[in-house]
């Protein structure tokens, strides 16, 4: 028996997981159209590598990584690219992002799939393969998996995260129950790639079926991986906290798990890695839990790009449903619209109603009861951070380690004053991010400005020197030369000439396509003409104005 450690704080919300575990994972039907966002991973959006009108096959790459921190995007089925345009996505801002719309041809024809022997791959080839196959972490952060294999430090412990601590979500649970052997195969690949020592599969003890299935798969494959039942506590599924529970090690703030010899992958990621290498299938679908206020809560295997509304229709939302939450009730986001597409990070959609999640009573002032500090898994002082965030005292908030907040929501969950604490932290974090970006921009602008001043000064000096030389030369020749017009004057003359030329051109050019215009077009022409007239007027003014413009 392995000795488990524990982390500070945590809560035990009602799990509501059994709602969606009665039925096996169902395959969602092929939708009429798929909207595939190009930003489905941490980092930069992928670059589209297909054109509108192209016919693509299932699994064909349609987006390539645009930076180191980026990944590939693939066509989830065969069909035609209908558009590459902005489309609303599952983001709390409700702002649109670039998406590729694919109209399936219904044939679901795969590209040529080839199994790759991972033992024959070098580390670089393996990483490139995962990058090409769009493998990203499916636990929620969607960090490109190839980058997690890139770290040069030796990994002693490989941890597989099957904790799934948030209420309602059961996609990993069902995946482990039904596809344990594939997951284990993925772990074999990962262990090989990382040359990891021990392998620990952490699953919360409220999922006995998943634990049993994983046990069976591990022993069937005759491996020495330890399937560890960890205590059910939220947020025990946070990678850093699972690492703490399993190994007793704390990932230092601002560092990566690999810095302490640990690497952590989600179980679903392990499965997609197996598919990428053994089956030659890129990441084009995922398991998603549809639960909450629906008639038939269930897990679906759905293609990336499927509209959530299609999936919810399969489970039939109850009448009083008034909003949908992507993710769990602790960290999820309210969907801006129900027809936004499923992405690689979508683990769950909860149909919500006011009876299911009653709106919080009005917030009262903080009474510093520190219930939040008692449950904070990051061991922060949420009541102080709240105070600083509220009063825009961001420097102090940073001093009190706001950056270490994982936004798990336990503070707001226990708050007797019902203060939306996490919202304050998110606000403060985005303000801090913007301010540091502004600071960088200002520093750059200052540098450029100072260089410009320096350059102007230098040019002036050079000119003065030249002038002095010339004067000296002319004095030597004892010839009094008429003074040449100054640079500013010649320039002004040149400008005036250019304006004249532009005017002349404008007068000459008579548009030939002005027949049969709509009133709108005529109005537009009129406005453009007006602007031109104004420009001409100004140009005359500028010509009359001899005074050189102040530019310093």
């Amino acid at each position: 028996m392995r000795t488990l450690h524990h982390f500070h704080g945590g809560i035990h919300p009602t799990s509501h997981k059994s709602l969606s575990t009665h039925q096996s994972i169902a395959r969602a039907p092929l939708p009429k159209s798929l909207v595939i966002p190009l930003r489905q991973h941490a980092g930069e959006a992928a670059k589209p590598c297909v054109n509108v009108g192209d016919h693509v096959l299932k699994g064909q790459r349609i987006g390539t990584p645009s930076a180191t921190l980026s990944s590939s995007i693939h066509a989830p089925t065969s069909g035609t690219i209908a558009s590459i345009a902005l489309h609303q996505i599952a983001h709390p801002s409700a702002l649109p992002d670039l998406c590729i719309t694919l109209i399936p041809d219904g044939k679901d024809t795969w590209i040529k799939r080839e199994a790759v022997d991972f033992l024959a791959l070098s580390a670089n080839e393996m990483q490139q393969h995962l990058r090409d196959f769009g493998i990203v972490g499916l636990g929620g952060a969607t960090f490109p998996s190839d980058l997690k294999l890139r770290h040069p430090i030796k990994v002693d412990t490989l941890i597989l995260n099957g904790a799934e601590c948030e209420p309602y979500i059961t996609c990993d649970d069902m995946l482990m129950r039904e596809r344990a052997s594939e997951i284990v195969r993925g772990i074999v690949i990962l262990r090989h790639a990382l040359e990891a020592g021990e392998v620990l599969i952490g699953i919360e003890d409220n999922k006995p079926e998943a634990i049993a299935a994983m046990h069976e798969a591990v022993s069937a494959a005759q491996l020495d991986y330890a399937v560890v039942a960890v205590p059910t506590i939220y947020p025990g599924g946070s990678a850093k906290h699972l690492i703490k529970v399993l190994t007793g090690l704390e990932v230092p703030s601002g560092k990566l798990p690999t810095d302490i010899g640990v690497q952590c992958f989600n179980v679903a990621t392990a499965l997609s890695i197996k598919r990428a290498l053994d089956d030659g299938e890129p990441l084009i679908s995922r398991i998603v839990t549809i639960t909450g206020n629906v008639e038939h809560p269930r897990n679906y295997e759905a293609l990336i790009g499927t509209a959530f509304s299609d999936l919810i229709d399969l489970s039939v939302a109850k009448r009083d449903t008034n909003r949908y939450i992507m993710g769990g009730p602790m960290m999820g986001v309210v969907l801006p619209a129900v027809n936004v597409p499923l992405v690689k990070s979508s683990n769950c959609v909860i149909a919500a109603s006011d009876t299911l999640f009653p709106p919080a009573p009005p917030a009262l002032p903080c009474i510093r009861c520190t219930r939040c500090a008692q449950v904070c898994p990051a061991e922060l002082q949420p009541q102080d951070l709240y105070w600083f965030a509220k009063s825009n005292n961001f420097g102090k908030a940073q001093e009190y380690s706001l950056a270490d907040c994982i936004e798990c929501g336990v503070c707001a969950y226990v708050c007797p004053s019902h203060i939306p604490l996490v919202q304050y932290y998110r606000y403060a974090k985005s303000e801090i991010r913007e301010r540091s970006a502004e600071k960088l921009a200002a520093d750059k602008a200052r540098e450029r400005h100072e260089y410009r001043q320096f350059r102007i000064e230098r040019e002036k000096q050079e000119k003065a020197e030249k002038l002095a030389q010339r004067e000296a030369a002319s004095k030597a020749a004892a010839v009094v030369a008429p003074s040449t017009p100054s640079v500013d004057d010649t320039q002004q003359i040149r400008i005036n000439e250019a304006i004249e030329r532009a005017k002349a051109q404008a007068a000459e050019a008579h548009p030939k396509n002005t027949d049969a215009l709509t009133p709108e077009q005529q109005a537009e022409i009129a406005s453009i003409e007006a602007r031109r007239a104004k420009i001409r007027e100004l140009a005359t003014d500028a010509g009359a104005d001899d005074e050189p413009h102040k530019t310093s």
């Binding site: 801002s93 009005p362 919202q423 304050y424 200052r446 260089y451 100004l538 413009h549 530019t551």
Partner: protein, 182 residues
């Protein structure tokens, strides 16, 4: 009485010497306060404060010649920062100075005649182009100072406001309703 006087005079002389010595010995080049104020200013170099750039404005503030509420690009937040730095009371924007939405210059390339006047006006070298060649703005370097607007003889430069994008979207300050307004 006389002794006391002498003691005081001697003390004054001694302290004067110490002060004089440290003024020479520990002299700091430049005015550190100017640097600090300059660091707070947004570096748009726009001159909207009435000084020809951020550094001159910082110098003016440090000398006590300028008020702290003259920098529209710095916004309300900038005034607060200056007030904190200098230990003075916050002052709202005075006169015509008002914070504006962030914008970058955009050159309408159809109208541009390639006069290079805007290039000379740009304090951060964010406009590229040559004489009789079309000019364009490097949006990432543009500080939105609007200094290129007045010299343009054909008014081809506009200042479109920067719209919120997904990548720089921010969570808003939570609004708590204390009482519903009917």
């Amino acid at each position: 009485m006389i002794t006391a006087l002498w003691v005081m005079i001697a003390l004054a002389a001694l302290l004067g010497l110490v002060l004089g010595f440290s003024a020479v010995r520990f002299k700091i080049e430049g005015n550190p306060l100017v640097e600090k104020i300059d660091a707070v200013l947004p570096q748009t170099q726009c001159g909207q404060c009435g000084y020809p750039g951020c550094k001159p404005y910082a110098e003016a503030i440090a000398k006590g010649e300028a008020d702290i509420n003259l920098c529209p690009p710095g916004g309300d937040d900038g005034i607060h920062k200056l007030a904190d730095l200098l230990g003075v009371e916050y002052k709202p924007f005075g006169g015509d100075a008002k914070p504006k939405a962030k914008a970058v210059a955009f050159i309408d390339e159809q109208t541009c005649i390639g006069c290079t006047l805007c290039i000379q006006a740009c304090p951060v070298d964010a406009i590229v182009g040559a004489a009789k060649q079309m000019h364009t703005v490097i949006a990432s370097e543009c500080t939105g100072c609007e200094l290129c607007l007045p010299p343009c003889p054909v008014d081809c430069i506009s200042m479109p406001a920067i719209e919120e994008r997904l990548t720089d979207w921010k969570w808003k300050h939570p609004v708590i309703t204390l009482r519903k307004i009917a």
